[in-house]
Each structure stands twice: as C-alpha cells, then as structure tokens.
Symmetry: C2
Subunit: 169 residues, 2 copies
DNA sequence: GGAAATCTACTCGGATACCGCGTGTCCGAGTTATGGTGG
DNA sequence: CCACCATAACTCGGACACGCGGTATCCGAGTAGATTTCC
C-alpha cells in the first residue's frame, strides 16, 4: 500500500480548489468541494475536521457555513496537509531487533540498546529528506500548475457552477 | 502503517548478520539467521526467496546449503533490499482526481490529463530524495555501526554459537 | 570395499488463517441563517 | 412591524461495515550431502 493515504490526496486537491485563479481564498462547504471534484462527501467531511484541528482551515458552522483557508495559500505546504491527515507517521517502524540476538539470552547488554538503531537512523534521515520536498511546495504552487495549463474558460466554469449551486438554495 | 514493511527490516538485519566482524561474507542457512535474531523462520524463508530472485543473495540447495551474499557487502544498499522485498512501491498512488471535475461532465479535456499531475510530481520527487538516502548506505555500513559499539566478545560469541549449531548436526 | 538405498537438512512454492487499518457510509447532535407566522 | 418558531443547510463526532494487504504458519516437493545397508 502507498504511504500517504488517499485521504491525503483528497485533502491536497480540496485545499487547492479553495483557491481561485487569482490565488485568492474562497470559502466553500464540504459538499461543494466533494461534488466539484467527484469525491465521497462523508469521507471528505472527516478529513476536513482533521484539517480544522490542525489549524489549516477555519470552520464556520450553521447554514451557509463552510471552510476557509486559515493561512495564505503559499503558507500551506503539502507536508502540513499530509501530517494533518495522516498524523505524522513514520516511514519505518523499528522493532528493535538488535536486542533479540540469541547470544544475549533475553537480557540484551546496554551497548546493544544504546542510541538509535543504525537502520532506524538511516530511515529517519531518508524520511526527513522526503518531507523537506513536501514542505517546499504549497497549495498555491499546485494551484498555479493547474491554471497555467487550463484555458481561461476553466476558472469561469467553476465560478458559474458555484454560483448556480448557491443560487438554488 | 509504516511504509517499509517489517519484512524489509528483517531483510536488512538478516543480510547484515551475514557479514562477520571483519566485513567478510558468511554463508548461513535461513534457520540459523532466524534463530540468531529471534525472528520467525517460515516468514524469513519467504523473504530470502525474494532476496534471491532480486539477485542480492545466492542460494545453495540441499543439506548444508543456505544463502550467501551475491555481491560485496558495500555494494548492497538498503534501497536494494527494500525494493527487493517490497517490490518498488510508490509512496503515493495518484487517483487522477484532476480528471473528475464536475465541470468536465465525465469527459475531461486533454489539457487536464496532460503530463503528470502536479501533486504526483512533487511526491515522486520526494520519494526520489528518500531513496537516494537509502541507496547511500550499504549493509557494510550498518554492520560497522554495530561492531563499533560492541565489545570484542560479541563477534566471538556469535562465531561460537554458529559452530556449536553446526557441530550438532 | 564399493554401490545403492535411506535419512536428514536444506531451498522453493503454494495455500491458508488472522487481523489491523484504510476506505467509505450512516446517523444523530449541535449551530446558524432564512423564511414564515401570529400578535 | 416585530418577536417567535420551524426549517434547511451546515459542521461535528461516533459507530460500523467492508475489503485488502501485511504478517505469519503449515505443508508438500525438489535437491544434495551424510549415513547406513547390502551384496
């Protein structure tokens, strides 16, 4: 299985579409976001409560409520989102096998347990490098990479779709 | 769940203990390796067939057989092992959500599908950085990090344990 | 004494069981704007 | 005109069902060295 869950993917895409073509925030409800992207609503709702607890979005309860980015789009990185949804999980879970050597007879000496396991140490470094990359890109970057490819009509169609939706209720 | 399975951890530790204190290869059977480290034998056996297919170890069938490193210890990296056991899996599995926008009406335009997804692209870069670190360390490095902490008696105890084991049969 | 049969200890590969977790759904509770109703 | 109430549309949180994949175990088949047996 992949390391980052599909919840993370939903989260990133969702926050990305809460920015308009000009890079400004746009308040939206979970239902709007879910329908706009063709993603399960109930599931996305749970994801947004996580994003809210992590302080990435601000919630507005009640009718007409929804979510809004808590910070400027360039200050929300992919790492922020991934950690908010997947709870800072490690790439590698050390089982301290080094302590299990049969020659230790179930009572490993101090030197064997001292410091961090060598393998674990390398894995931690690897994860740090990985997360550095994720921390380097914001949802504004992602948003731009979409709008730079899209025709001008794309942004308009989304705006219209949103307006229609809101007009009906 | 962690990205790299516990099978990877078993694999790395196992290959590491197929090197003696001087950094030389040491032929061992799966049973020896499993018992030495206190790890399930049957499970480890399956892992070694993967390592064998990946060309990291060479198998010798029949009585007295076992496994041996296929290359010099400094040429076997943690990435080699991880990929041999976990089959080059991606950190992130793109679901191509960008094609699902409701304004596309189930027929996404070419520009939306063109090239690699922006998020996916960042994730791939992140994974590359991570794997670079893993490719940077060999099992010889890991082995040394253990022996540098251990007293001289440690290597001797392992040798004696192995000799006892082989004498009995 | 030498050849053949037997035994033992391996590597392989498939089948299977267990179980945790990711994914997704459902529902009830609390909140807030909106619209309608009655004095 | 204004206070009050019902309704609709949200967010929140818990419970739960489902299925997949990681972990682990078991077993049979094939292979090769060691041992014994038998002529």
């Amino acid at each position: 299985m992949a390391f980052y869950s599909s919840g993370v993917e939903y989260g990133i895409h969702s926050l990305t579409c809460m920015i308009d073509a000009k890079g400004n925030k746009r308040e939206m409800s979970v239902r709007e976001i879910a329908q706009l992207q063709g993603v399960p609503f109930d599931y996305l709702a749970k994801i947004f409560t996580k994003l809210s607890k992590a302080g990435l979005v601000i919630s507005a309860e009640g009718k007409g409520g929804g979510f809004q980015l808590a910070r400027s789009p360039e200050l929300i990185t992919l790492l922020d989102i991934a950690q908010a949804i997947d709870d800072k999980k490690p790439i590698f879970q050390c089982k301290e096998i080094r302590e299990r050597f049969v020659v230790f007879n179930d009572s490993p000496p101090k030197w064997a347990c001292a410091g961090i396991c060598g393998i674990h140490s390398v894995m931690k470094t690897a994860q740090e490098r990985m997360e550095e990359v994720l921390a380097q890109y914001s949802i504004l970057d992602i948003s731009r990479s979409i709008y730079v490819k899209a025709p001008a009509s794309f942004a308009i169609e989304i705006e219209e779709w949103l307006n229609n939706k809101r007009q009906q209720s």
